[in-house]
């Protein structure tokens, strides 16, 4: 139960300034921070306003009492900010939840969507607790924290007159009552600057057999992956960890500054196949390989095992986010191609996106690159991340930052971390190779990809630095040579 919450003063001051300058009668948005069940405390790093929805309407508006009988949701301008005591808020709950879903994909370990904030008058807030609780609940469902999911979220109210911050703890019970909201201690302080940074690469080699069972007959590739990853969570949770080469044994507080590298150790031979059976017929095998790069940020009072738990969480969440992105894209495609003739037998492969293929009926190799993860500098040395599809460029990332996180577009591309290379898909292996334990998955270097992959984009990212480096060496050599000649001449 979170009893006390600390807000990052530097950031929240900016938010307050922004809000007081805005003319909007009310605003709703997401609280980015961390809830620590171990410490019974919450940390708030930033507040992010929910953007206008697709129809151009803001997510929150004030509904005046019946005398002014306008339709709800219409972006009406009230006469004065000090509206009368019976006004209440109208919130587009689905839209706020959608915002939370998108933002949570950009979060990294130890930084989460932990609730909502609302900018409204005291009276309006009081009249709207129900809708606010429902919104909190919607946000919690859309951006669920995996690790020991606390059944509570924050509801921060910034009251405009008198100017005051209050924080309430909202219990996510099935039915929301007035007792769901409990006040908790809120104060400003410095939390971002003392965060510890942890980084981890996790190399997956997950094999998921597709069984010849009726139950799995209609499973798509994405279904299989989703199940596989969800089952894998337990394995990963049990993994031992090393921080900077030292095994995490005692739960201590991290005292050294700087970037800490986490390495995750899994039991030998246990993490490849997640399901055990005696003998079952299989029709194929799905092999998930590749690296996930993860960051997590730890408050100075939290123990290192929390950092490890956050990293593990982030790894799974990043992988699931990528699947979601693939699915979203497939949905969009399906939406735009509504009028296209339904799959004919021969063309079904080319019509359907790979992720939606039903593996049972698929009789040829196929592969699917998941989006790669990039990291953008956020507040005070922290990062947030985004997942980019092979076809997407860093421009997409900038759009996301501006739109979803209401931050300035990162202009300096060199500050963006791109630790994951785009995956090269080379299918030189057969089923019989793929089922062997620990068969090498490193893609043969010079082999041409038979698939339609965008190899170029992946190389683009590394090329400039290489060129620069080579050029620098050539210049260096030249100058040495010239210098040498001069010395000889004199």
């Amino acid at each position: 139960m979170v009893k006390a919450v600390v807000g990052e003063e530097s950031q929240l001051q900016l938010v307050e300034d922004r809000l007081s300058q805005s003319s909007a009668p009310a605003q709703v948005g997401l609280v980015i921070g961390k809830l620590s069940s171990g410490l019974d405390r919450g940390f708030v790093y930033d507040l992010v306003p929910t953007p206008q929805n697709d129809a151009g309407q803001s997510a929150c508006s004030v509904l005046e009492p019946a005398k002014d009988n306008r339709k709800k949701g219409s972006n009406s301008k009230p006469k004065s900010q000090s509206s009368d005591s019976s006004s209440s808020l109208v919130i587009d709950k689905e839209w706020v939840a959608e915002h939370a879903r998108q933002v949570s994909r950009m979060m990294v370990g130890g930084i989460n969507v932990v609730g909502i904030y609302v900018w409204a008058s005291e009276a309006t807030f009081k009249n709207s607790t129900m809708v606010l609780c429902q919104t909190v609940k919607g946000v919690a469902e859309a951006a669920s924290l995996l690790e020991d999911d606390l059944d509570e979220r924050l509801l921060i109210h910034i009251c405009y007159s008198p100017r005051r911050w209050t924080c309430r703890n909202c219990t996510l019970s099935s039915n929301i009552t007035s007792s769901s909201l409990r006040p908790c201690d809120f104060k400003m302080g410095r939390v971002l600057t003392s965060l510890q940074t942890f980084k981890c690469f996790y190399n997956f080699d997950l094999r998921l057999p597709i069984y010849q069972e009726k139950a799995s007959k209609s499973e798509t590739l994405v279904d299989v992956l989703h199940n596989g990853i969800s089952n894998y969570v337990k394995e990963l949770r049990g993994a031992k960890a090393m921080i900077d080469g030292n095994l995490v044994v005692n739960d201590e507080i991290c005292t050294t500054d700087g970037l800490h590298e986490i390495e995750l150790l899994l039991p030998f031979m246990k993490d490849m196949y997640i399901e055990a059976c005696s003998q079952k017929d299989v029709v194929g095998i799905v092999n998930l390989t590749g690296s996930v790069c993860s960051f997590s940020f730890l408050n100075s009072k939290e123990t290192i095992s929390q950092a490890v738990a956050d990293i593990k969480d982030d790894i799974i969440r990043s992988l699931l986010s990528r699947l979601d992105i693939i699915c979203d894209e497939a949905d969009e495609d399906a939406g735009t191609n509504d009028d296209v003739i339904k799959e004919t037998r021969n063309d079904s492969l080319s019509e359907k996106p790979v992720s939606q293929l039903v593996l049972h009926s698929l009789r040829k190799n196929c592969n699917l690159s998941l989006p790669r993860r990039v990291f953008v500098p956020w507040l005070a040395g922290t990062f947030i991340s985004d997942h980019l599809q092979p076809s997407e460029t860093l421009e997409v990332l900038k759009d996301h930052c501006v739109e979803l996180m209401s931050m300035e577009a990162p202009n300096d591309a060199s500050k963006i971390l791109e630790p994951e290379e785009e995956s090269l898909r080379v299918t030189a292996r057969s089923f019989w190779d793929a089922v062997l334990p620990y068969c090498s998955t490193s893609s043969p270097s010079n082999e041409k990809s038979r698939e339609i992959t965008s190899k170029e984009t992946s190389q683009k990212t590394i090329k400039p630095s290489n060129v620069n480096f080579i050029a620098a060496i050539i210049i260096l050599l030249l100058s040495v040579l010239v210098g040498f000649i001069f010395v000889r001449k004199s």
Partner: protein, 645 residues
Amino acid sequence: MEKNNRSIRIECPKLLITRNESDLQWLIGSPFFPPLTIISTFRCIHSGSSSPDFLKESEEIRTLLLKGLDVIGALIVGKSDPQKTAVTAVEAARNLRKVLSGKTNLENEEIIGAVADPDTGDIRFFVSENERSANLDLVNSVSYDANPEKFLWESGCLLLCQLPVKLPVCFPVNKPSDVEGIFSRAIEAVIAKLKDPNVVYMVEASNKASLDVVQPVILRGADLDFDTTAPNIEPLDEAAHSSEQKLLPCGHFCLKSKSTPHLFSAKNADILQVSVLLNRSEKSPKRSAPAVEYFPAMEETRLLIVDFKLEVLCYAVQGIPLMHAISKLIIPGLIDQLISMKQTTLPNLLTQHPELHPYHFCPPGIAHPVTVIYELSYGETEMKQVDARRSLHMRLGLPFDRPLLRIANSLDFSIKGRSSTSSTRKGSSLLKDVHVGIPSSGVSGGIVSLVQGSYEYYHYLQDGFDDSGWGCAYRSLQTIISWFRLQHYSSVDVPSHREIQQSLVDIGDKDPAFIGSREWIGAIELSFVLDKLLGVSCKVINVRSGSELPEKCRELAFHFETQGTPIMIGGGVLAYTLLGVDYNEATGECAYLILDPHYTGSDDVKKIVNGGWCGWKKSVDSKGKSFFLQDKFYNLLLPQRPNMV
């Protein structure tokens, strides 16, 4: 010159020599000991017409022998020319070493060839320095150590690695013959992976006390040295203490204070627990974002998951660096065990699913543990398992009337199992071996012969059951049955009074009305129940008067020496359990170690011993009072050890 200084050290509790002509025994030593140190012998049990069946022998010995121990020679019982016999022994030992190690070139290894005279039991030791030179040197200096346990365990420790392996094997349904090849390839892949740079070995103390003090140590596969041609592992210099993790010695995890000599045994040895982990965050030059591939099976395919529970125990001395203990002991041990299990599984891979499980034993007379793989899908008493145990008894020179290699005898490595010693039964714990540590009998110059093994003390009023005045023989029987249980002859629960009565009714000795009654039973009834419940037969000694009992002392002493079971004393009056005798053959003076079931107090050893409920009784005590009454007859029931293993 050096040859003259050579000496053989024998560090076995007993060097068992059979009297059978041309018997061959392998001599076991360790690369960690001074050369020519024999710590035990394994009998060769697979012989062809003229020479041992090396393949079979090596397979069994590879499993049995911990890594860190090896065959250093052979002994042949024979009367013919000792020199020639010794040559045969050396040749056999060399052959076995070659098969065991898989190396063909073992030129410069000293091998012992020993020859025992079947009549006198004298042993002559010869040493061969080199495979090419045929001449043997006779070694005259032979020293026997009285305390081999100390030699092995003062500086030794055990490494234990438990590794469950779930091996997926896919095979085409219409070509099931392919499965063997695929299975073998999968095994090879796992073996290769054990040496992978990304595999991480975690070493931790399994001892509760050290667990809190010593942090686990991580050894990366990349740091390990798998060079098989490298010379034997050398202990670290005491002086060159390094803080570097990979150069830490095994002793890092061992308890420093081991002053009490009785703690020197495999059971009390420091155990280092090794876990095999895979680093999933390994460094690699290229990190690609995750990608998914789907491989459809082009033919009907079945997936089989083969489950292996590897458990490898190794012996090392504390000076050995951990990294060598891992690369030279643990990993080869895991590989050997995996291959051995593969060979057992392979012939019937698709039809049978053997549940193979390694167990480690420390049978009496052998100072080091041995490893045995049992097939758990058979019951322990099934013929196949009994035969397997018999041949192991044979190999290790163990008696055939004691179950020493049952699963219940195996070493328990769980931390909990090592810390608690009390037995629990239905939630309450019974006192065990209450006679240990009681004052001596006072018989001067007597020889003490005692019950062998543990028993539980059953007495009046236990379990809230009021049997005061009639239940003493029942309690004595319960104590005897507990002995058979604890010695692993039987897993039958110790019967209640009612169950005892029921079985007497069942065999027709008593009427049904007997059940629930408070009737006494005697030695004869006890023998019926022991036969019915355990299949144990008994000898009965009758004496007409208590004064005749001292005459039976020699026979009783012999019983404790050979059978070692608790004796029930019944007859005219009270029933007792006899746990031992102290007998001076010359003077005839004797005392009896009596465990009295009439005790009605709480289970408190002090009270029991001080009250004389367990103690030495002389026939006639200092006050002239006889313990066994002159005018009463006595029946002594001597349960016989069953001939079983």
